[in-house]
């Protein structure tokens, strides 16, 4: 229990002294997770919406698969990305292994199914509501997807935040493809894993609290921004 207090103290100390290493790895965490979030959202929001509006033969199968992919074990994703990017792998020439780019790639693979699934679920209701109108106005597929995303943006927030949460807290995959290299690919979660392995639980917890604080900060910021839009249920 004392460790938890020590952890809080450590977090406090790290933040107050603006520890240079801490700032560095925190920024890297943010950079990697936000990049992954943006890329994954660009893929998953239209795809999830498309799944909600399109009836086709294997729709249920696709949705079930997408839902299952939310359970993609990060370690396995990390391994596969490692094998693809490793020097003997097909993309080895790009030299991406053990760079933030590799970490972003792995995280995009992990969070895209999550964001797409939640998007699909959220967009189904809105599509049921808009269906007749949008068909009647002879909209193209693209216009339908755009309209749904635009008018459902508030409900998509949860999808994006879930993706961000998963990315920022993830450690298995980025450990393998990033390598937790000091000053290069170390992020908050891998640093926490490292300190845990060292048995320095206070520091590990301290970093953990910093990470949680960061997640809170990002969430409050996003909520505050979305609040500047007009209130209430449209």
């Amino acid at each position: 229990m004392n460790e938890i207090w020590a952890g809080i103290a450590a977090a406090f100390r790290l933040i107050v002294t603006l520890d240079a290493d801490l700032v560095d790895i925190t920024l890297r965490s943010l950079q990697v997770s936000l990049s992954a979030l943006v890329i994954a959202s660009v893929i998953a929001l239209p795809f999830g919406t498309w799944l909600a509006i399109r009836r086709f033969r294997f729709r249920r199968l696709t949705i079930a698969t997408l839902n299952a992919l939310m359970g993609l074990p990060p370690v396995v994703v990390g391994l596969i990305v490692y094998l693809l990017l490793s020097r003997s792998g097909p993309f080895g020439v790009l030299g991406l292994l053990f760079t933030p780019t590799a970490m972003i790639i792995a995280q995009v693979i992990i969070i895209t199914p999550l964001i797409a699934s939640i998007t699909h679920q959220a967009m189904r209701e809105l599509w049921a509501e808009y269906h007749d109108l949008l068909i009647s106005l002879n909209t193209t597929k693209g216009q339908r997807i755009m309209t749904l995303i635009r008018d459902g943006r508030r409900t998509l927030l949860t999808a994006a935040l879930a993706g961000f949460g998963r990315a920022i807290g993830e450690v298995g995959a980025i450990m393998i493809v990033g390598g937790n290299i000091d000053n290069a690919t170390r992020v908050l979660t891998t640093a926490i894993a490292l300190e845990t392995g060292k048995g320095d639980f206070a520091l590990a917890l301290g970093l953990g609290f910093v990470l949680i604080a960061l997640a809170l900060l990002v969430n409050f910021a996003i909520h505050a921004l979305s609040r500047t839009e007009r209130e209430g249920r449209w």
């Binding site: 053990f98 393998i176 390598g179 290299i181 392995g197 060292k198 048995g199």
Partner: protein, 246 residues
């Protein structure tokens, strides 16, 4: 049943797969292994969450015992550290006379080098060697990569990067993702790696299974264990040498 915290390098060697079934048949003890970093192993012992630890970091072990967390320290066996690197050996450490020279050549050539960077027994040994070579890793440029991970993960990183790395022989021999890495240097007595067994002190944690821990110690130092440890080979190479004093 009893719980034993061991380091990743011990477990990755595969020796535990040989020892545990034998322990179970001989003593009836079901030993549950917790494979963690050295530091974490010691913390588990301090908290009383395991009944004994098996690690390889002398200083930390002595501190553990003198603080009263462990009853005593019992040396069991040793293996040695080796230098692994790309088969082409750009830093030419293959014919270095000593571990210190090898490290100096690596730092001169600025060939990529992966360090465990996790304060483990292996990492501590590596730092000691750098100190002996009168070099400070903190001043190294980006060719020196402190990856902060267990032995296996660090080896994976090294093979992904084609980098040099210091590993214990057992982990290396049992490692499956060698790619074009090869064992380049070994044999310096400075690379000696002693494993020791420490039962957790029942005076501090009344619930620990002290008798089982002692039974296990007796078994680990028995001729039966000696036979199994010395006889454990991978590809014809012996990994550990039993050196417990009865």
């Amino acid at each position: 049943t009893m719980r034993l915290a061991v380091t990743t390098s011990f477990h990755n060697s595969g020796l535990s797969d040989v020892l545990l079934p034998a322990i179970e048949t001989d003593t009836g003890i079901d030993v549950q292994l917790l494979v963690v970093g050295t530091g974490q192993a010691i913390r588990l012992g301090e908290a009383g969450d395991v009944d004994a630890i098996l690690v390889h970091s002398r200083k930390a072990e002595d501190r553990f015992v003198s603080a009263g967390y462990g009853t005593h320290r019992r040396e069991i066996m040793y293996n040695d550290f080796v230098f692994i690197g790309p088969a082409a050996d750009p830093a030419e450490i293959g014919d270095a006379g000593s571990a210190v020279t090898a490290l100096q050549r690596i730092s001169q050539s600025k060939a990529p080098f992966v360090s465990r960077g996790d304060d483990s027994g292996t990492h501590k040994k590596e730092r000691a060697l750098w100190a002996a070579a009168e070099q400070d890793p903190a001043t190294f440029a980006s060719w020196y990569k402190a990856v902060g991970a267990g032995m296996g993960a660090s080896l994976n990183t090294a093979s992904g990067l084609g980098a040099y790395i210091m590993a214990d022989r057992a982990s290396w021999l049992n490692f499956g993702n060698k790619q074009d890495l090869a064992l380049l240097f070994s044999g310096d007595p400075a690379l000696f790696n002693q494993y020791a067994y420490i039962p957790v002190n029942p005076a501090r944690h009344s619930h620990v299974k002290a008798s089982a821990a002692l039974q296990l110690e007796t078994w680990l130092t028995s001729p039966k264990a000696q036979g199994l440890i010395d006889g454990y080979t991978i590809g014809g190479e012996t990994l550990f040498t039993f050196n417990a004093t009865p």
